[in-house]
Symmetry: C2
Subunit: 557 residues, 2 copies
Amino acid sequence: MSAKYTIGLDYGTNSVRALIVNVANGAEIAAAVWTYAHGTQGVLLTRDPNQARQHPGDYVTGAEITIQQALAAAKKAVKGFRADQVVGIGVDTTGSTPLPVDASGQPLAFSKKFAKNDAAMAWLWKDHTGVAEAAEITALAQRIRPQYLAKCGGTYSSEWFFSKILHCRRVAPAVFAAAHSWIELSDFVPAELTGTLAPDKFTAGVCAAGHKAMWNAGWDGYPDAEFLSQLDPQLGALRSRLPARVRSVDQSVGGLTEAWARRTGLKAGIPVAVGAFDAHLGAVGSGVGPGTLVKIIGTSTCDIAISPNHQPLADVPGLCGIVDGSVLPGYFGLEAGQSAVGDIFNWWVNYIQPHGEKLSHKVLDEEAMKLRPGASGLLALDWNNGNRTILVDQRLTGLLIGQTLYTTPAEVYRALIEATAFGALTIINRFEEYGVKISQVVNCGGIAEKSAITMQIYADVTGRPMKVSRSAQTCALGSAVAAAVVAGAHPSFAVAQKKMTGLKPKVYRPNAKAHATYQELYALYKQLHDAFGTRDWNGNLYGVMKQLLEIRGRTRS
Amino acid sequence: MSAKYTIGLDYGTNSVRALIVNVANGAEIAAAVWTYAHGTQGVLLTRDPNQARQHPGDYVTGAEITIQQALAAAKKAVKGFRADQVVGIGVDTTGSTPLPVDASGQPLAFSKKFAKNDAAMAWLWKDHTGVAEAAEITALAQRIRPQYLAKCGGTYSSEWFFSKILHCRRVAPAVFAAAHSWIELSDFVPAELTGTLAPDKFTAGVCAAGHKAMWNAGWDGYPDAEFLSQLDPQLGALRSRLPARVRSVDQSVGGLTEAWARRTGLKAGIPVAVGAFDAHLGAVGSGVGPGTLVKIIGTSTCDIAISPNHQPLADVPGLCGIVDGSVLPGYFGLEAGQSAVGDIFNWWVNYIQPHGEKLSHKVLDEEAMKLRPGASGLLALDWNNGNRTILVDQRLTGLLIGQTLYTTPAEVYRALIEATAFGALTIINRFEEYGVKISQVVNCGGIAEKSAITMQIYADVTGRPMKVSRSAQTCALGSAVAAAVVAGAHPSFAVAQKKMTGLKPKVYRPNAKAHATYQELYALYKQLHDAFGTRDWNGNLYGVMKQLLEIRGRTRS
């Protein structure tokens, strides 16, 4: 019997990747990456730092090119490999990245009329033009539909579905009027590949709908028309045209079309799984299960845990979302995150230390590794890009305390790493405070792969072993796992994950002495966190600098 | 009638300067500088960062060399100049810089027995080895002699006279036992030049005694023997051997000896004024008078004001000292200061930006000058070296808030300058809160001379014009003014200052719009200042980051 493979298509912020995986053992036999032709600013090349748009044509082109190239690479890598051994496709993407579509389900951007209109493009996850609308939605929900907010951490974000659509209604009414509906990128790609874009055939994923569009089976799907109408009557009218069928990733949206079979060389009819966000399928590719927290650590983090949906689960304040089936069927998916991690380290190296050679990440890593916990007297807050979890507040900024006349760049660098570790611990604590026990932490993503010092500090700060996913491309791998399930290659996600995912042998174990010092430092971090980040804190910070000096004195002697 | 000149001898941390000044108009006709041969670590070259010692032999050598060289330079600069036109000498030095002397008044360091003993050297102002003893003195005074602390800001410093002597008693009992007495550098030099080192001839300056040794005419001079004995019986026994005669700088300690006349080429018998600290005579050289605050801004600042001694003056909490006659006779001298100013800028450039060429002070000055107040969203506390005034607390550290992922080095640099300006404003406010009206601010020192951006920011932050002293070496000039008074060349300091000192034509005037923004930022600075720096503050800092972002948004748009 010949080997079976699946393809994971992973749509990132700047590029798309196709990964071909052996379903029997998770071997990643070939991959291809293509950078979007139009970039992330839309077609008008605006310099508005809040705007981030993508041309949906790139998503289509990207699928074709990367699948072709990955298949070609597989033929070189594995003797006798044939494209018809690929039995299914899975798709993960950024999100919330909604795009307007016409009555036939085609992106408005593909029409001549809107080909040069940024509002008709896909509104990339990090587009923040809808800040005012997000505040409006949050305020209205607080007043009349508090249950909507309870499942998304208490605040509706400018990065999410309805903020963007409402903003479009306000600033580009012609585009809004021309749009029959709006769909997520993670749903567009599977529908495009399977010819199911038309509204009566279309399937949306519960991951995007639940986490970003307040979709919940408990209240009949999307927010009700009355609520949406109070934001704007036109938004209320849109509700009936939003996707009717919402499913989780164990379902197929359909079979690959003949046309796509010809374009790629794949076999027509192979199933394409319901799409989901990169982090969620990244968690699947890292082996997420009950008790396991998966941290996808790159420029920012996404932290994913799951909890059986047959057990009661409290609303966890400050989490980005709690959605039944958003990660795995049968489980609540819980999403948390840090707004910046690698981005903070990059800021220190590229903006504050712009001379590259002498103070690169590598040099700073090495110097920072030699420093003892507490020995610099520094403490930082990891809020240079706001705080996603647990404060859900973008209007927060960085803070560094403890500088002397002798503070070095490596000391600050280490303090910034520690700050992100304290932020990570705050998330773990929040999960556990609300009954989601975390018995194992698995890391993946660029920082987990490359920065040993970060992983060691995370272990020392949290007092937990830090494991690292075996795969360097867990999102695409997770999509391939979903594909294997929908293709019937494995009977369940549990089996598919067991066969196809794994951990690296190297585990970062906490050092007891370092952990003890970090517990003292974390108490101070939490004081600053609460003093600057919460309305209710009341106190005095007189002891903070003095305790940092005291710890410094003790660790240096 | 031929012109008259005086010499100002200015003993700094690293070098000594002799300045020859025309008493009629303040013209600085010649100067010479000599760097101490032994440096500032003592003779043993210890690397203890708390220790700073100087060999008193360098003070003697330095006087001889710089006077000789300055006279030679004067002969070249002014046609017909003769050394006998020099009618007096004034001396200013760092302090508190005490040194142990034998029964004849000679430094112990000059004896063979102690020539290699760091405890027998001069204990430079910045020597912090007596931290524990300073805390002990403060605690005892709080308990039994609170009046001693009221005149020195509430806390006795490790940098001061008795902390050092008591520490010597503890760590170098042989040196302590061999010392007949201890004298300040500012008193040693005048006594050495006039042959009045012997205890019965010796005159101490009220500046050093009053500001650093708790000397006050109101309680019979130095702290009483009972107080000192409780610290250590030997310290109590020392009291009777401390200098008996304490005077202000309008008095002469004696005439130049024949020996020193031969060594230098000066005329024997010319009067040498009572010595004082550099900042105090720097204030004189900057034209200090009632209502004028003189800021000597270098690595740190010393801020000097005076208040008529016939008017009641409250004890001003947090000031370094209030001493009758310490600056000018007939006035209380009030000393405040910032523990680091230029040192903080140097830290950012040299430690955090160690690549020199691209991000020098000059480049950062230019880039920071282009930024608008509030536009970076940053705010800093200027406590990298602790806070001298008004908190009197060395166990404080720096703080920076408002960083994003795009914060630039120039933005941080400007925030650090602004932080020192907020610190300066806090000092001015404290003076005025206690009835010392500041109607004019005159700056001098390296930063005032070189950094236009700093002066402009100080003007914008304080809302007051920043004037700069005409002389670039105001300390030495102030000493020359004192010399002119004791030589009878002018009838009073007021007349001598009017003739010999002045301001630069360039005045930095506050920009109303910038000042308005800085008033908002100062309110936030004061919140952080009180939250981290005082025991009594109670509150919440939730608004700080948000207000910084709000101000940023407003100033950028």
